[in-house]
């Protein structure tokens, strides 16, 4: 079976001295989203992993994060075989991938994802 290697940003500002990346190896399956992979890791390997998600179909933008340096909506982004997943930049980190969207004023005014037509 093919495996995927996923590095995930881990940081609890209240406990840890600094951030680190944890590496997880999991079976690779085509057609999974980045959020599917994060949830898989959370349910099967490490449930201390913190992240945000809502609708899971690309409407709420709750799972905005960075994959290999690019800001993406987690549930809409196909997962790759090698991924480095980090929280959305310039936001206050609550824990791991979960950020405080209000930490830099009204986030809705500066939506990271450009306006695009839903369908």
């Amino acid at each position: 079976m093919e495996t995927a290697i996923v590095e995930i940003f881990r940081f609890d500002p209240k406990v840890d001295k600094g951030p680190r990346y944890d590496t997880y190896e999991l079976p690779y399956e085509e057609g999974r989203s980045v959020l599917d992979v994060i949830k898989y890791i959370y349910e099967h390997y490490d449930s201390t992993l913190s992240f945000r998600y809502g609708c899971s179909v690309g409407t709420c933008y709750g799972c905005l994060l960075k994959v290999n340096g690019e800001a993406v909506v987690g549930c809409q982004q196909p997962a790759g075989k090698r991924m480095k997943i980090s929280p959305l930049p310039r936001q206050k980190i609550i824990k791991d991938l979960a950020v405080d969207f209000n930490s830099r004023g009204d986030i809705l005014k500066k939506e990271v994802i450009p306006n695009e037509r839903a369908g």
Partner: protein
Amino acid sequence: MSENEVLKTDVLIIGAGAAGILAAIRAQAEGADVLLITSGALGRDSSITWMAGGGLVAAFYPPDSPEAHAEDTIKRGRFLSDQELVLALLKQTPQNIMDLDRWGMRFRRRNDGRFEQGLLHGHSQHRGLLHKYDGEFLGRDYRNVLSKQVRRRGLKVVEDCFITDLLTKDERIVGAVGIDIREGEFKVFRSKVTILATGGFPSCYKFYCSSPQSTGAGLGMAYRAGAEFVDMEFVNFYANTGIWPPIFRGEIWPTVIRHFLSGIYLNKYGISFWENYKRKGITGPQAIMQEIREGRGTAHGGIYLSCIHLPENLLEDFYAAAGKVKWLKKLKKVGFDLSRKAVEICPTSLSTLGGCKVDTRCKTNVPGLYAAGEIASGTDGAHTINGNQMAFSLTMGSLAGREAAKEAKEMRMEPSTDDRQVMYLKELAYAPITNKAGVRPFELKSRIREIMWEYANIVGRTEEGLLTAIDMIGQIRKEVPKLSSHARNRRFNLEWVECLEIDNMLTVCEMTIRSALTRKESRGLHFREDFPQMFPEWLRNVIVRKQGDGMSIRTDPVTFSLIRPE
């Protein structure tokens, strides 16, 4: 344990979707002090309002009228709706939509300035509002417009707070308690009046196209507080939802393949089965579900929806005409070619029609407690028409907010909470992270979802099956005290929150199953294999409430204040 921080307010609103936010805006406008709680980040939480498509209806211009709209609604609901409530709400709907328009919703207008309205299935008049731009969903606009209103009006919001229970003192609701997910701390809210706007419980089913957190948490706590529930047996399913590949799970765009690309349903043998069912008068979702249940579904539990019979250039022309539609972009990104591959789809639970029984002021039977949105019931009856649920959510929120603020204003006394209850609930809330290693929430959740899928689906409900389901739910209930989160950290511990959802899921599922068992007929969205007919003597609502440690059920006749069945 350390002293708990107590936050005080006049009106406490739990849930920040359309109903919750409208309630907050109206209550504040009435001069009340308001606190709005969401389990996620405002506007990015798991509210299904953000997932709304194009369905929103209101009777704006003659010859249409709220009365005509109410008549359509009641007929579609097979005469189980609370007619007085339906009319009261539909009369106020246009005003609320005008406000949304003023706040920046991009509705489509005609040259004369009126809203352009489409004719939606089940409506006798053109009352479906449209987005200004083709292919845009209203959900995105709700999200922007409503969140901005909350900020602009300086409404106090508590984010990332999972409410676990309501507080009761002298039979009145005096607030709520919950977990601040960010810090893992216990929070106590004291309020004069409380509004539940937490949504329904579609995600109690194996496949759903609502949000994953729609597990019925609000219904569970209202139940424990003594609220009455009505029409719990009716669950609305959406026929064409993607289930495979996983990245398409819960997405509703396959309906475009079905209706605009002459998509055909194929079972695992490649046989198109729809015509056989259609001849017998069976609806789409039921036909697909029947096919799956009889063992002709795909390995992932669905059926294929294919449009590979179309010539490639036809598809290309369709893509070109559709423009930059999000789901087409996604297909491209995933590398899924519709001219070669079929999407696996399945009917999935979209919304739950049952919920707290409310009066024409959105008040529940429990003093101090209001309910609005999908958690409240009485509006749809046995079936719902396109766009009505959004209209009801907005209007109920608005109404509940106003009425709650008025009630709070009239209250002289500051409410006080029962310290013993607070202590008890705190212990319960912390149990999953203090319990010794036990059963994990993921396992119980998937078992519950399987039970509902198997026995309380849109087809295959039988007395025998429903009794089995009650038994199985009871077995799982025994494991609730053993629920334990492997993650022991307090800050942003998602597994802990999932543990706290289980008990509520069991409660709402049992209410649904028992209501379905009680209704010995088939009506609207409730199909009993052993009672396939609709009977006039069942023009009654099934009402569930807590009694001692058990569930009590009664049936009340419907009052026909507006129209009677022929």
